[in-house]
């Protein structure tokens, strides 16, 4: 891997930028690997990177049925925060935020992580109580989160309409200043480049269609559209298609897959300095460095793999955006798309072992997985390499849907998050 630096940039500038090489190889699959990761999104690539970097397992393949970062990694609204209510959730998302803070340097790739602050709005008494509870809970575990009055919220985000006359007036806000956004494609590419440099094979257009088992029932390999690949450890990180992949191993999962939508406006000059979220009116918005307003809408109410959602879902969000930011009502929307998110009953992920020996799963991130990418990959790599969960992902077992030890962010957030 040729490292990026001011020196290489300058030398390339004098050579017309003709000398840049491909950032990762495009190898044919080998007959066998130590570990196979199914799914080449951010979480899968991060898992492969940390397997190679921290656990010395470089004989690793990432199998992606289409192209890397083409699923939910490239479809989310890039929001990063760790202000979750439950201690288990706060721990894993904060683990991720701490990795985000050093990620560009770690990968030698600019993921454009910008800690511009994530502000969550309160519109009624319930919101105030709930968000203040989040603030207190977060501060008790050492995560920054603070309460703002409407005037303070307006100062932090001047575009916000804090008039008392709107349908759902802003009565306060919780602000996590260390929250922010990152460039989601760069996260996939940065991890791919760094993992490839450590010897990981990234194999695109390679769909896993079946699993091979040995006489004892343990995983022996995968059957793919590019032939059979032997591996005694397989990690499935397939987001919305986890159900489909796991069914090929004969396992049912406590997951449902829903379409989640996002949309972007035409690009405008910088007008929006932070991330604003409102669960009550269901809107979240930030401005990308290109100038587009990035807007997240909700999920459809029914199971679907169509990668597009109902127009009324996006309309509902845009109505909320136009009430909170009336000046944006003049903007045209450029693109609208959907991704398929895998949602667990308690809205917390599943990271760990499965009933099949050697088969591991990292799924159930629902509508909020992007923010966890580095932390998720880090603890999942630990789980695969050692066979035991990291302390941070130990509570996020599949078995909790048998024992009842849920991590109930569904009740905590009252909405998809």
């Amino acid at each position: 891997m040729r490292r990026f630096s001011l020196g290489t940039l300058l030398s390339e500038a004098f050579k017309g930028h003709q000398g840049w090489e491909r950032q990762w190889r495009s190898p044919e699959p080998k007959p066998a690997y130590d570990v196979v990761i199914v799914g080449g999104g951010g979480h899968g690539l991060a898992t492969a990177y940390y397997l190679a970097k921290e656990h010395g397992l470089a004989n690793v393949a990432v199998l992606e049925k289409a192209w890397i970062g083409g699923g939910n990694t490239g479809r989310n609204t890039t929001i990063i925060r760790s202000n979750y209510l439950q201690e288990e959730s706060a721990a894993i998302y904060e683990h991720a935020v701490k990795l985000w803070e050093g990620l560009s340097r770690e990968l030698n790739y600019n993921v454009m992580f910008s800690q511009r602050g994530v502000m969550m709005l309160a519109h009624n008494t319930h919101d105030v109580q709930s968000l203040r509870r989040h603030v207190y809970a977060n501060r008790l575990v050492g995560i920054d989160n603070e309460w703002l009055t409407p005037d303070e919220a307006k100062r932090f985000c001047p575009a916000l309409n804090t008039s008392p006359d709107i349908r759902y007036p802003v009565v306060g806000a919780a602000l996590q200043r260390r929250g922010g956004v990152a460039r989601h494609d760069a996260v996939a590419w940065g991890y791919a480049r760094a993992a490839d440099a450590l010897g990981v094979d990234i194999i695109e257009n390679c769909e896993v269609v079946g699993f091979q088992r040995d006489a004892g029932g343990a995983v022996a390999g995968v059957e793919t559209s590019k032939g059979e690949i032997a591996a005694t450890r397989v990690g499935v990180v397939a987001a919305g298609h986890t159900n489909v992949v796991m069914a090929r191993a004969g396992l049912r999962m406590p997951l449902e897959s829903f379409p989640l939508q996002a949309l972007v406006s035409e690009p405008i000059k910088p007008v929006f300095p932070c991330v604003v979220m409102s669960n009550t009116v269901h809107a979240y918005i930030s401005q990308s460095d290109k100038g587009e307003l990035v807007i997240g809408a909700g999920t459809d109410q029914y199971v679907s793999y169509s990668q597009r959602g109902g127009l009324h879902i996006a309309t509902h969000t845009l109505e909320a955006i136009c009430e909170l930011f009336p000046q944006f009502s003049r903007l045209r929307m450029l693109r609208n798309w959907g991704g398929i998110v895998d949602v667990t009953p308690d809205r917390s992920p599943i990271i760990g072992r499965t009933p099949i020996e050697g088969l591991f799963v990292n799924c159930g991130w629902g509508t909020g997985g992007f923010k966890a990418t580095p932390g998720s990959g880090h603890v999942f790599a630990h789980t695969i390499a050692t066979g035991e969960p990291h302390a941070i992902n130990a509570p996020f077992t599949l078995d909790r849907f048998r024992t009842g030890r849920l991590i109930d962010e569904a009740a905590a957030a009252a909405v998809a998050h």
Binding site: H241, R252, P254, Q301, Y302, V303, S304, Y305, P345, F401
Partner: protein, 96 residues
């Protein structure tokens, strides 16, 4: 937006309905005797197929009655709707 054929009211837009998730899941008659794994299966495990899905819908802004629907989760096309208590209909023959 989907158009759903309510068995009682006829064809109406999706915003009049609430989806109630997978259909034909029977509550175990003796929950105390079946063990944690089977109870967890009943509470939390869902099929979520890539293909035909049987699901419950409530016509909440209409007749307020429940019914079932078969829908293709790839195309979101509604294949059939049928009243509660009736068995899942056979799939129609694939057309040209």
């Amino acid at each position: 937006m989907l158009l759903l054929d309510c068995p009682y009211c006829g064809r109406r837009p999706e915003i009049e309905f609430r989806c109630g998730g997978e259909a034909h899941i029977a509550r175990p008659p003796e929950p105390g005797t079946i063990g944690d794994a089977a109870w967890g299966e009943f509470l939390f495990y869902r099929t979520s197929p890539k293909g035909v899905h049987a699901e419950r819908w409530l016509h909440v802004h209409g007749c307020r009655r429940w019914f079932n629907a078969l829908r293709d989760t790839m195309s979101d096309k509604i294949i059939a709707t049928y009243p509660m208590g009736t068995p899942r209909p056979a799939l129609p023959e694939a057309g040209p």
